[in-house]
Symmetry: C2
Subunit: 210 residues, 2 copies
């Protein structure tokens, strides 16, 4: 008697979809590194680069945006997880701790910088993809907002700043600078970005007024 629910860990269909997602996005990254524009990155060229037929692509994905949605979903948790270190910056915030926390976010983001930038670009034209990027942004804003409010109640963040608005500004700044500056950036530039990011966040949120 065979297993009633044969290997319910994952549908072979879904597994194959996942495998192809990895392969195709890796191919996309190669092409983007070679200077191919996202607009010129059609399904044809993409599948060709990955060594998969175009018809097979449409077996597993609705369209190019569907592929990017799947990839993005798997990465967004990674990013969100990396931001948790920031919220842990507790009472009596230390500048070194803040830099380490922000540096960890930058490091994680950098791993996917080129594809993240491409995803945010593609989100302009695909409503579903746009919803996913919005989730990442709003979760970041929300986490930072609560962090700010906690700090204000505890007295180590200026009570005069507007938590929601300030969190929004800092989040958009991070998103934009990451996507604009990180793809293909040399280590030196990454360090500089982290430093300035820290400088601004520190100056806006934690610096003692005295």
């Amino acid at each position: 008697m065979p297993v009633p629910l044969p290997a319910r860990t994952e549908s072979p269909r879904a597994r194959r979809r996942g495998e192809l997602c990895v392969r195709l996005m890796a191919a996309a990254e190669e092409l983007l590194d070679d200077g191919v524009t996202l607009a010129d990155l059609g399904v044809d060229r993409l599948t060709q680069q990955a060594g998969v037929s175009r018809s097979s692509f449409y077996v597993y994905f609705e369209d190019r945006a569907d592929l990017m949605r799947l990839w993005f979903s798997s990465v967004v948790d990674e990013i969100v997880e990396a931001t948790r270190g920031w919220w842990a910056v507790g009472p009596a915030p230390d500048r070194g701790a803040v830099r380490d926390a922000l540096g960890a976010i930058v490091t994680v983001y950098r791993l996917h910088a080129r594809l993240m930038a491409a995803t945010f670009d593609a989100a302009t034209h695909d409503a579903d993809l746009r919803r996913l990027t919005d989730v990442l942004i709003s979760e970041s804003v929300d986490g930072l907002r609560r962090h700010i409010i906690r700090g204000q109640k505890a007295g180590w963040v200026d009570p005069g700043l507007h938590p929601e608005s300030c969190a929004t500004h800092l989040t958009w700044m991070a998103e934009r600078t990451f996507n604009q500056l990180l793809p293909g950036a040399p280590p030196r530039a990454v360090t500089q970005l982290t430093e300035t990011y820290t400088y601004i966040v520190w100056g806006v949120l934690y610096r003692r007024v005295d």
Copy 2:
């Protein structure tokens, strides 16, 4: 004997091109206000909204990006001009003066918010348009960078911050928050944006360390 250079103020051809640009971009703004996506804003629908035939469109413009380039070029000077007030914030910077200067930038930007956001989106796919947006960004970064250096030499800006990197971060923050938050924002939200923008810039650049 007729005029050798008949009314050399402006070619009638170029004038007509300018008129159509205004009409078409106004039509584009209407459609975007009605919730039409930039991706769905084809030449067909655009010209139909403006009451111009599609064939006439191609007489005066290479493609949709060409239209947007012409419009953007005419508006970028306006924006750059508005930022000059910021650089004028002189020795012994006053918080009220900073808010007024940044508020002026927000006010000007707001006039074109929806179309500016659309232009930055379209710049993703059109290299020439991208170059134009990059000019706006890099001019802003450059102006701010020089402003920072001037302040550092005069002693009213922290010499410890990196002028280029910091200017880049603040500029991208402004671009992103403007394009994301200003389109269709009620006056209350605009005020809040200006306040937070001022709060951050003040805290990062001018606040006395004491």
